[in-house]
């Protein structure tokens, strides 16, 4: 058995590494986390890992953070999740802070502005491109395709807050199940 402090440190270090090398966030880091947590260290088995991933994706907040908090908590309790969470936050915090401090000075530079004129439409394309494959994995069919369409239009055109979207979506799902249950009973 390793001393306690070393185990906390290991949690911090594993997720610091994941945080530092995961570009683009979210789904890109799943194989990386699986490699560290399942294959290398046996902290979770494959089934536990898949269950945890499903939960991390269903809860609010960045998926990378939720995953790190879950693993930290399972290993060393609440304190463990503080160490793993800090590990995953710290790399991007340092990098972005440096960019924020120094980028401000270059922002109005005409060359930088030209570069960003090219980049801005590309950013939008990168957000839009995965929509189809995401739709497939979320099992979007003709029957429920109205949901993403209605959400996109109401947020985009009517400026509806995503907070309400989330609350209404959860409520509709629950009401739907309650309705089915009553129908079966009656």
């Amino acid at each position: 058995m390793k001393p306690i402090l070393k185990q906390y440190w290991e949690l911090f270090l594993v997720f610091f590494k994941i945080g530092a090398f995961t570009f683009g966030g979210g789904y890109a880091m799943v194989p990386l986390i699986r490699n560290e947590v399942v294959k290398k260290r046996n902290w979770l088995d494959d089934e536990e890992f898949m269950d945890m991933l499903a939960i991390a994706q269903s809860m609010p907040g960045p998926i990378a953070l939720n995953t790190s908090l879950f693993v930290g908590n399972k290993r060393m309790g609440f304190k463990g999740s503080l160490f793993s969470g800090l590990g995953i936050i710290l790399p991007s915090f340092v990098v972005i802070l440096l960019i924020a401090v120094f980028f401000v000075q270059f922002k109005d530079n005409p060359v930088v502005e030209r570069i960003f004129r090219g980049i801005r439409p590309a950013v939008v394309a990168l957000i839009a491109a995965p929509l189809f494959s995401l739709g497939k994995s979320a099992k979007i069919s003709l029957k429920n395709a109205w949901i993403p369409v209605a959400v996109a239009l109401s947020v985009w055109l009517a400026g509806v807050s995503p907070v309400y979207i989330v609350l209404v979506a959860i409520l509709l799902g629950i009401l739907h199940l309650a309705y089915i249950k009553r129908k079966i009973k009656g």
């Binding site: 939960i55 269903s58 939720n66 879950f70 609440f78 991007s92 972005i96 491109a129 739709g135 799902g173």
Partner: protein
């Protein structure tokens, strides 16, 4: 006093983003944009797009990246020092993480039961397709006059869209479109 107020509203906004930001990454963008651009005017739409671009080329989730960046710029733009900006940055980054910490602590306590819970699955049955809609909204909200200034913007958009669909590395695509911007403008 003014600084304290700013810290408090930054904290509140990013706590809200962490609490209601379902689906991670791009799905959180409409909420972030509404809070930091429209409701509080902490940054412009163009700057917001630049943050996403920076986010796509640096490590870490977009929610953290925008919290760290906006926390700093919102404070320094109001005329406060670099040091106060760094504090603002830390406040936003913590604020966006605290809801996850609370929720995951509760989830871990009830883990085995929650995963197979039919009510949990039922609420996700509508939330998952809704998240796709939120990502679409993020793209639509960014298709504005700041980001698309002429037909050349749309050509870049079209090429990157197809290349990304064909799984070309996003960092490479951002790099190349930066060069395209340098040549075209």
């Amino acid at each position: 006093m003014e600084l304290l107020d700013l810290y408090l509203s930054l904290f509140a906004a990013f706590f809200k983003i962490g609490l209601f930001g379902f689906g991670g990454g791009y799905a959180m963008l409409p909420l972030i944009q509404q809070e930091v651009v429209e409701a509080h005017n902490w940054i412009s739409v163009a700057d917001f797009t630049d943050i996403i671009a920076i986010s796509q080329t640096t490590p870490g989730p977009i929610a953290f990246n925008s919290a760290t960046y906006i926390g700093y710029t919102a404070v320094t733009d109001m005329g406060f020092s670099t040091f106060h900006g760094i504090i603002g940055s830390a406040i936003c980054t913590l604020a966006v993480s605290i809801p996850s910490l609370i929720i995951m602590t509760i989830v871990c306590a009830f883990f085995t039961r929650l995963n197979n819970n039919q009510w949990m699955r039922a609420s996700l049955s509508v939330l998952k397709p809704a998240v796709i809609g939120l990502i679409a909204a993020a793209a639509l909200m960014l298709m504005n006059n700041y980001n698309f200034i002429d037909y050349k913007s749309w050509i870049i958009f079209g090429i990157v869209f197809l290349a990304s669909y064909k799984k070309v590395d996003p960092i490479l695509l951002i790099f190349l479109s930066g060069i395209a911007g340098l040549i075209l403008y």
